[in-house]
Symmetry: C2
Subunit: 274 residues, 2 copies
DNA sequence: GCATGTGTTCGACTATATCGAACACTGTTT
DNA sequence: AAACAGTGTTCGATATAGTCGAACACATGC
């Protein structure tokens, strides 16, 4: 009955049923199609009755929906609302709105803001390139950290231990140019750390590049990154990084970092009701 | 504290701790700022230790984050990812992408697609008006059903019992023109049902109007709605609804409904691997 | 310095979640 | 037709696993 804690991590008390419920949610979210009770039970190693009870409870909360025809389950609408609520409460995102807008118009490129989540970068804000082209919204998407400039910018300023674990955790290639060797990646992170800016040249999507810089809080931790994405021809013309964009990104990240740091140091909880 | 199940639905067993965990998440999502353990415990009527255990478990799953400085809790990044996963699995949204795009360019207005969630309409897709103006993305937002055309369009075709409960559940005014009287609202729903299209004229935001039509699945249930939003001057010039937009919305909703119905009737699970 | 606040820990109690087998139902196979 | 292999669902016995409440350590403000 006892689930052994994997690789002898610190054994903190966790509530079993809630953990299982969370894993069900992630399971439904990961696989891109609806699952049945038996499939859920199998994949999590639970009794069918147990999985059913959990699903029923989640359904009552509208975190999960059941297709009335097939009886299978999928994520529910409350999930979207909570996801949105996360964004509303997100400090980095809130503070980045104005900076991202101005960076987008100044650089005439799309802007993304991301934070580290596991070994991926989670996009928390996205401003479209200011032209009429059709673009898809990427907020909520997650990108392997080593395949985007945002991720490298964050990783470069992480405490050693954390950076190590990132480097060691399965680096999968997305394009032919994705760097997956930990050693060379570590070197490039050192370069990023001295330059203060990270680059990505078709390592995630062929034809697209990114220039990004880290964002720090008042403790000096890299809590996220902001950068511009766009076609290689414009970001890296003739193999050289556009100096204009580079300066714009750097200055924006500094301004945003100042915002983040100042918010905590100067006044403790200015927005809270007294 | 107890939400009465609409029309006396059967009360089944639910797992206590999971339900409590879900309520914690909603609490963190609703109040727009981070909460402490004691506050959570108070608002849910739990022992402090219990609330702590739940929060710890949710934190381990990254559904909740703890501010290392203040010790207070907020929603975590996994929430955003799950919210996004909900969208990816959402059938109506998936099928509406193309229709919404074409409606937006045909009508030169912003397009929204929504579903009913509780007594609100949850926006699951949003196409910006095809001009260069700055617009904010509304996906994930929820709007009181009686204050938007999407909501009226859905409600007009709901089973009697469900429509009743909507009419009876606290209708709050958002602007001076919001209709909050159940009787007059019911009348207007009857009109909507015969016309096949719903209107909204500055009932949610001053200066903005909306034209929407319902979307049906193969069972004939109104599972959502699609419509255009924009300034009153363009949607309702001189007090008359733009005939062009009205036709466009109507035709789009019919096409989308056909998509939704056809997907289920013709082939059972065409997208599933064999 | 005390008084109040916080988040956190711990152990005893029993309410509570888990299991596993049996159920009703559907569509397919024989 | 009838037996089969699936599904989601129900139910009751068992002891596990979650809940409570008091005590803890730490921070803040009087």
């Amino acid at each position: 009955m006892s689930l052994a804690t994997p690789d002898g991590g610190p054994r903190r008390a966790t509530i079993q049923s809630v953990e299982r419920a969370a894993r069900i949610l992630k399971l439904l979210g990961a696989g891109s199609w609806r699952l049945g009770v038996t499939e859920v039970a199998e994949r999590l190693g639970l009794a069918k009755g147990t999985a059913y009870g959990l699903l029923r409870t989640l359904e009552a909360q509208e975190l999960v929906e059941q297709d009335p025809e097939t009886g299978k389950y999928r994520l529910g609408p409350a999930m979207l609302q909570l996801g949105n609520a996360f964004l509303d409460n997100h400090e980095l995102r809130a503070r980045s709105l104005l900076w991202a807008d101005s960076l987008a118009s100044r650089g005439a490129e799309a802007v993304r803001v991301g934070v580290l989540h596991g070994s991926n970068v989670l996009i928390v804000h996205h401003v479209f390139r200011p032209d009429n082209s059709v673009q898809i919204l990427e907020v909520g998407a997650s990108i392997p950290w080593h395949a985007c400039a945002l991720g490298k910018a964050i990783a470069a300023y992480l405490p050693d231990a954390q950076r190590r674990s990132l480097l060691d955790s399965g680096l999968v290639p997305l394009t032919g140019r994705t760097v997956t060797d930990p050693a060379t990646l570590e070197e490039s992170l050192a370069t990023v750390a001295t330059a203060g800016v990270a680059l990505e040249d078709q390592e995630a999507i062929v034809g697209e590049a990114e220039i990004a810089a880290p964002v720090f809080d008042d403790m000096g931790h890299s809590v996220g990154a902001i950068g511009v994405v766009g076609p290689v021809e414009r970001l890296v013309p003739d193999g050289r990084v556009s100096a204009t964009l580079l300066a714009a990104v750097r200055e924006t990240s500094r301004g945003l970092s100042r915002d983040m740091g100042a918010g905590r140091v100067r006044s403790r909880g200015p927005a809270a009701r007294p």
